[in-house]
Symmetry: C2
Subunit: 377 residues, 2 copies
């Protein structure tokens, strides 16, 4: 029996947007969902209590590449798995390590059964392929395991993109062999193919041919114009299997999420809310706000008037600007809390709109307001 | 009417230790008490909710020197005072800025009415004396205001120590003139005199002659051997006024606090629990533990078995070591939470022992266990 059961609750009759639910070994996830990124067995500056109680996160992401290098998958397995190690008892999705290894650029060499690279921590040579990635993710014990793939660079010729995609498809099949269907961990395949519609559709078909529990779309948000990303989602939307969750990897801004939901996407992850928080960039319905700006030095208002996160309920922009200027740790923490709360609350609002049958209005109103005030203040 | 009412609840019949209570404009403080240090309008990495709910802090300290330079006392006053600015509604004690200015060494010049120095932030010339310090602390709105003084260097000749102490006493009287007794802010005088018993007693007498609400002992923990510090507290203990709180500034280790209580001290502050936390040094009843140590890499135990802080209830030493090695923000946060909880819980245990009439046993047992295992692990 599979580790994932997927239920569709509502569909927007005018398009692809849907409200669904994933049942996983560590709990239920309501979709559309944003997954905070917990690279090194921690969502930077947040405790599990912040994530579950204040932010309302139902699933987080862990990074295989970082964890295999430090503290190591064997150690995490001995400590009872990633959930127990980091004190998070809700679902976890782990990526395959493929994207991070690809990001190493010159430091890695691709071979038929995986990638050879040097650790960014101690320079040691490491080999990671479908077999190794499945073994590591098994030790981590995540609820959702991602297939090991190669992210096609942007730009790439049709030939390059085809070769890369075909290798990823061979690797995806290998992953399923190394991690057969089981009750503890679900496997997601990743659609590649660069910015070529024909390759994307071939890849989706290949992924569908493997007995996987979810469909991810990789290789987007890698430098291409937003229109190209949305064009690829438009190509795929009518062909995504209705009975499986759809996850677009590494995306994106709040408006990207709304556009993604509109194209049938159920799951998102991105470092933007956490990384931007540490750089003083805060999300609101009226676009982004840069807390460094001196106009906030005596601004008694919260970041966003109708936000019920701990940060907005207790602190002024003036105080948050002071913390940022004084390089205080609390700055990263309060900003991260707000940004993640903002992303997760946006998904809650989207779910409510889908349940209430007023998705198109919600989508249009949000995009108009957010983009209308898009200029960074 | 004074802003401070002091009640003594229990005394240890065998010595000077006592259990008391301070009533202040923002609430009641049970003593003996440890005050976490919130230098820049934040106790580093902690929210007010952490401090009040998990740590159980009843009063915190703010630093006049840092706040006057950034974000500035006028801005904090416009934002409704330090309590409102930082979202902390319990009592605050602010220091006078004297100690920080003294720490600038060559960068400051002492004059009859204060000290001229350059800001460590932008190099601007600033003047701070009794009048300015009272004005700034009035704007900050702290419950307890410290007199502006000079910290006598260690070592110092008798003549140097006498001159410095006499200037501090003139400044203390000036402070009272600039901040007359009022219902919003209590003023504490600071006993100086270096390591000379005669000067310390003269200084205590001079401070007592001013109509102040509390007695602080300054100029300790500045590099002298611990025996000298305790010798000075022994000299002062029989002469400290019974009807006023006694505060030893910038002290110290957990055993220093127990030794201080034994010498009639009610209040302590120190950056040690917060700073050590960020450096990976954690306090336990069995002495200090250095989380960097590789012996903890797969240690599933909490920092301290019988600690009920959030960190100890949820995370292993192995996880805390990983966070430290990976330079994660959460490392500073979880370590700070434990260390401050440890200090405040130690004060709660001391209060319980004093109430139960078994202070000497508690003191001896604690010191034996703590010092017996003192070696840093």
């Amino acid at each position: 029996m599979s580790a994932l059961r997927f239920e569709t609750l509502h569909r927007d009759p005018s398009g692809f947007a849907r409200r669904a639910r994933m049942h996983l070994p560590h709990g239920t996830v309501e979709t559309p969902v944003f997954m905070p990124v917990g690279t090194q067995a921690t969502v930077k500056s947040m405790t599990p209590a912040d994530l579950s109680e204040d932010i309302g996160a139902e699933i987080i992401l862990g990074n295989t590449y970082h964890l295999m290098l430090r503290p190591g998958a064997d150690l995490i397995e001995r400590m009872g798995g990633l959930h127990r190690f980091m004190g998070w008892d809700r679902p976890i999705l782990t990526d395959s390590g493929g994207f991070q290894v690809w990001s190493l650029g010159e430091l890695r060499r691709i071979e038929e059964h995986g990638v050879r690279f040097r650790s960014h921590i101690d320079g040691a040579e490491v080999f990671l392929g479908p077999k190794e990635s499945m073994e590591i993710q098994r030790k981590l014990g995540s609820d959702i395991v991602m297939a090991f793939d190669e992210c096609t660079p942007y730009p790439a010729t049709h030939e390059q993109a085809a070769e890369s995609m075909e290798m990823s498809m061979r690797w995806a099949a290998e992953c399923r062999q190394h991690l057969p269907v089981n009750e503890r961990q679900a496997l997601f395949g990743i659609v590649q193919g660069g910015m070529y519609a024909d390759l994307r559709l071939q890849s989706l078909s290949a992924v569908n041919d493997i007995d996987i529990e979810g469909i991810a779309i990789g290789g987007l948000s890698v430098g291409e114009p937003k229109e190209e990303m949305m064009a690829m989602l438009d190509v795929l939307a009518p062909h995504l299997p209705a009975d499986k969750p759809h996850y677009v990897m590494g995306v994106g801004t709040p408006d990207d999420l709304i556009e993604g939901i509109d194209r049938g996407i159920d799951m998102f992850d991105c470092v933007m809310p956490t990384r931007n928080a540490r750089n003083g960039t805060l999300f609101t319905d009226d676009g982004k706000l840069n807390i460094k700006n001196s106009i906030y030095s005596d601004d008694e208002r919260p970041i966003m008037a109708d936000c019920d996160c701990y940060t907005c309920k207790h602190f002024s922009r003036a105080y948050l600007r002071h913390l940022y200027m004084a390089k205080e740790i609390l700055s990263s923490r309060l900003n991260t809390l707000h940004n993640l709360h903002y992303y997760c609350a946006l998904m809650r609002k989207a779910r409510t709109a889908l349940e209430g049958g007023n998705w198109p209005q919600f989508r249009d109103q949000f995009l108009q307001r957010y983009r209308g005030a898009q200029t960074l203040r």
